[in-house]
Structure formats: structure tokens, C-alpha cells
Symmetry: C2
Amino acid sequence: MSRESDLRRQLRLIVLTHPRPAGGNLVDVVAECLEAGCRAIQLRDKQAPAADLYRQTLDLLPLVRAHDALLFVNDRLDVALAAGADGVHLGPDDIPVEAVRARVPDTFRIGYSTDDPPVGRAAAVAGADYLGVGAVFGTISKVGLEDEAIGPERVGEVVRSCGLPCVGIGGITLENAAAVAAQGAGVAVLGAVMQAGRPGDVVRDLLQVLSRAADEPAAQEAPGT
Amino acid sequence: MSRESDLRRQLRLIVLTHPRPAGGNLVDVVAECLEAGCRAIQLRDKQAPAADLYRQTLDLLPLVRAHDALLFVNDRLDVALAAGADGVHLGPDDIPVEAVRARVPDTFRIGYSTDDPPVGRAAAVAGADYLGVGAVFGTISKVGLEDEAIGPERVGEVVRSCGLPCVGIGGITLENAAAVAAQGAGVAVLGAVMQAGRPGDVVRDLLQVLSRAADEPAAQEAPGT
């Protein structure tokens, strides 16, 4: 299997972390997600000092490695590099993708957030490995801010225009994940897993839904598309 | 001249930046400081998104290079590396010095903040190139927080115990800078320069005071020490 299709498979479901998951401490919850089959974790804590984020990355890495999964750090390239994570997830407020790509090893993965097809194409040229596209169904995970929902069709537009693996993000649940997968994208999930009492069960159910949708994409398309 | 004594000379005075200096826009104020003889600038903006800090670092670098000076970025190793700055200044809330040292080129400078001699020695072993020691005379530069003043003698204790170039920081002015220099340390100045209408004049006066104190260290010591 090629390196890119390997990445697409691993990015079928990214679990984004919350510093205080409902289902237990962060390490235990991540372990449950990995045991349930999740192959990509994004460590995300916009308030934590870099020292804490670094320590958490070191805590999670052995678990992630044991499951042949990927660990991304949100925003903090320095933490990702210093701790030896697999990649970083960047957005428009972060260091530009091309500046990061020029300074990191080829094997280091760069994710970038956009819902705009031309921006996604530019990120691909600049050296991004995948895109986070959203907010698909809206989200309240960014403090005090509700992002506008772009809908799954827009995710499909980005998928078809950029040539990179894409993951839809924002308000994704068991009920709506298939509509995103039908667009040829993986999903990034925060609340649905982090607010669950049994996060492993949610991951297992999500992976089943996603796998079914990936096998029958046509059946998931909205009428008339 | 050896590389270390070169660094000591450059670190006689570090000007720390404020995002909105009283004397003009940041680039102009930094240019004035460099023209006045300052050889080390630390870009410091704890609120700015990484993208802005990166852009500011790129804006300042040509100026700093033209004056054979050093540019450090506060906290953000990723910004410093991506933009090609000379170093980063770290504190206890940042990625540990040894983890940073292991991932950056030998020529990349690492500063570390501490007022504790054993912690300073540990930072030297871990790979720090210089220490920021304070708050010497207290400061209100950290939002809403007044640091306790440690006094210049404590700076001298750190200087004598760690073997690294040290700069005193916190509430340093034209009036008290000599007392810090007399301890064998350089000074890091924020408010005295950033709040000045003519920052170049303050830098020139500071360098004169510091140069005199460095030439006659004994005369600056408090009686009985």
C-alpha cells in the first residue's frame, strides 16, 4: 500500500482530545480509542503551557506507537518536534505551511485547516499532507464561538479540488458521519468521543459507519448531486 | 574573541519588545535601538498568534542582521526556527531546555529564565547559552502580575554559580542598571525603552552606564559585600 493511501486509511477517523474527557483521564481515554481501532489522535489544548503539552505528548506517544497510529499536536510545531510526534495541525493563525515544510523532515506530517478549495490547493502546493475541513455541522468547541456550518457537500468540493486526504471536522456524530465519508473524506471528532462515558464504544460505532459509507459512497450521496 | 565572550558582549543589553512601543512602530523602534548600539533584541508578544509573531520576526531579521546583532523570540521555538531567528528564550512553562537543545543546531541560542542558582546550573548542563535572571527590581510587564524583586546581589549569585552569560531583568532603568552590571551580568530592558519617546537615546545612555560599570565593577558593589 502506498504511503498516501496508508495515510488516508489512518485518517479515516481522527480523535481530537479535550483536556478533561468525560470518560476518564486523557491517557486512558486515548488508550480506549486506540484499542477500539482509531489510528490518528490530535492532541489539542489551546490553554495549556507548552511544558504541559510537551509532557502530555510524551505520555501519549508510547500508546500511539503501540497501535501503529499517528499523533498530531495542534498548533504547536515546537512541541510536536521536541517530543517526536508524527505531525502538527496548523491553521491560518499559525506559522505558514511552506515555512514549516522547509524546516521539518519529509516524514513529518502537516495538517492544515481550511474550507476554501483554492486555499486547500495552495496548502497542498506548500507541503501540507492533509486538510481539516469545517466546521461541517457547526461546533462549539472553540471557546465561546460557534462556527458556521459548511455542510458535507463543501467538504466534497475541497476533497475534489486539492488532491490531499481530507477530514471533515465540526459537530460530527454517529448520525451524520456517513454523509462526510460519502464525500471521500475522513472525519475528525472531538465532542462525540470526549464527552462520551464509553469513548471506545463511540469509536467502534463510528468506524463501522465510516467503513460502510466508504464501501458504498454512491448510496450516501444526496439526491441530485 | 571567543564565541562565548562574543555572546557576553552582545548580551550586555537585550531590548525586549512591546507590541505597541511609545516611540513609534515596532520596526522603527527596533531600528533606533540597533543604531544606538544595542546588539540583542528579544521579540516578545505573549498574546500574538504565531502567524503574526512569525511575520514580525521576518520583518526584524534584516535590520538585526545589518547590525551584527542577535534576534531571540520569546517562548515560541517554532517561530524562531521557522523564521531563522538566532535563538529562543524559554521559561519553566516552556518545552524543557534539553529537549530543545537535542533538536536545534549548535549555533541556535537558548536563553532560560530563572533566579535560582541550582536551576541555573541545571539549565547550563541541559544546553542553555545564557540566563535571564529576575525580576531584579520587580516588574509589571507580565499582565496583572507584579513579580517580587530579587535584587542585584541575587543576580550575582546566579552569575557566579552557573558559568553562563546572565542578564538581569525586571524594572531595570538608567538609575539602577549599573548595580546589575557590577554583578557581572548584562541587562534586559523592556519598559525603560519601550515606553520612551526617544528609545535610541535611552539605549545610548544605558550602554554608557553599563560600559562604565563593566570597567569598574568594584566601585559598583554595595558596601560590605
